[in-house]
Symmetry: C2
Subunit: 312 residues, 2 copies
Amino acid sequence: MLTALAGGVGAAKLLVGLAAVVDPAEITAVINTGDDLVLHGLYICPDIDSVTYALAGVNNRATGWGVEGETWTVADQLRALGGVTWFQLGDRDLATHLYRTQRLAEGATLSEVTAELAAARGVRSRLLPMSDHPVRTRVTLAEPPPGEPPEVGFQDYFVRLGHQVAVAGLRFDGAERAAPAPGVLESIERAALVVCCPSNPVVSIGPILAVPGVADALVGRRDRVVAVSPIVAGAALRGPADRLLTELGHESSALGVARLYAPWAGTFVVDEADRDLAPAIEALGMRCVVTETVMSDPARQTALAKAVLDVG
Amino acid sequence: MLTALAGGVGAAKLLVGLAAVVDPAEITAVINTGDDLVLHGLYICPDIDSVTYALAGVNNRATGWGVEGETWTVADQLRALGGVTWFQLGDRDLATHLYRTQRLAEGATLSEVTAELAAARGVRSRLLPMSDHPVRTRVTLAEPPPGEPPEVGFQDYFVRLGHQVAVAGLRFDGAERAAPAPGVLESIERAALVVCCPSNPVVSIGPILAVPGVADALVGRRDRVVAVSPIVAGAALRGPADRLLTELGHESSALGVARLYAPWAGTFVVDEADRDLAPAIEALGMRCVVTETVMSDPARQTALAKAVLDVG
């Protein structure tokens, strides 16, 4: 049994690789929900959906998010009506959000809905939201642009503002009152290997760690936790992880991420480009594995998955 | 200035006819919201939308509801996911509900959102929800089918159960606490003519009358109120109005409707097919006008509109 801590697109790629190497039914993914938002009355879980679509083989590889073969009839009409369109929702993707919102309104938990949606799409891995309680990543802007409040929701920062603003701080609203979703702690405690996917350390992995009990469970399994660096040669492959690390006082490098993960990850996987950092990472008390980590095609996803499993 | 009391499709047809005869900007429609529902988290106003789409010239004439040239990508995907699909929502129609739900969440009133959506579609008439407060038509089933509660929401009765069940009673939940939307009472008090459209007397006009103040305002303008019978030769042209009238103890005929409307409508328009009922209707103290009332094409919509205006 293998448990993965997952954000969105980077995690989805590694999970697809892992599911190609081991029985997908042996994989549990604990997925960040700090990015979730309610828009148009719809409950949207970007990271859960990215992972689900990728494992179902219906992810849109051109955009990196959403569903393949997507159409935009609703969005086009919404634009014509003068509606809110900064968060793009394709027609097929919308069905996911309608389904989820209706089921939540009927009293289902997010765990239940996530399992239903995964099953409906033929996903055999177990997908768990980090919590069934709402946890919302809130972003304090260093210099709010005109008309912006000092603190905004994560998707306001990430999508609406295009993460082109400096960040002064983060908080995970609701985390202290949240409980891990059913199965989250057990899946960490009982896994043969826990894989921390190459997701944004502060806004994807950070919220998962903020759910009471998760960090302690990881510490208890430190020798079985393998983390893959999302930073290669000092830069994020996608998104603002590099800038966020710097803005929040960390080092934008694989070493900077290793410092954050050292308390609970016994092994750290870095790219060949960061081979020079291995001694410093090992000095943190972590085993450092150097391999190709850039998953630019399915073969490389599988290759990284094999390298991670070999560590275990 | 002309004010119309409106349900859905029948009202929309007459309103299109009226807008062809008088300046659309001179028309105010007070629209039933008892049919409204929240589904998939979306706030749906079937009657407001039917009127808006018709006056915008984008109504779907084939189905009688929804938007012309509609596509069903979201609905098809939702069905594939195992979602709730008994209330059909086309892609273009969905944009309306997304817009409305988001604006309500932002704090706008239903009146404001209704005006925004009408303006975005180029509708020049003034469209008012009967109230900005929620009023929900609830239907008591005479013999609930297996698995059904004794009381269901209106759309459960109308769409999900296909109105193929006997009704023992109706109530308009929230009506006693609701206030007329801004402009509703004034539009009735100041209109040169108030037209009660050929809508379902009990579930379309009934909720409007249940909003405190509306019935009194109509009584005060009785000599300027013209109602068009939705029952022709004992039958509803569309929907279950005839059965509902009978089940609720009324007579399923133009005369039965006239009895309900006599307290506040000075003039009652019936179809040629009901010419024989004119004396009985006039005996109620109403003026009875006999004309062609079946709006089977745009020319007949305009003709009925002219006949109604001639009354005034």
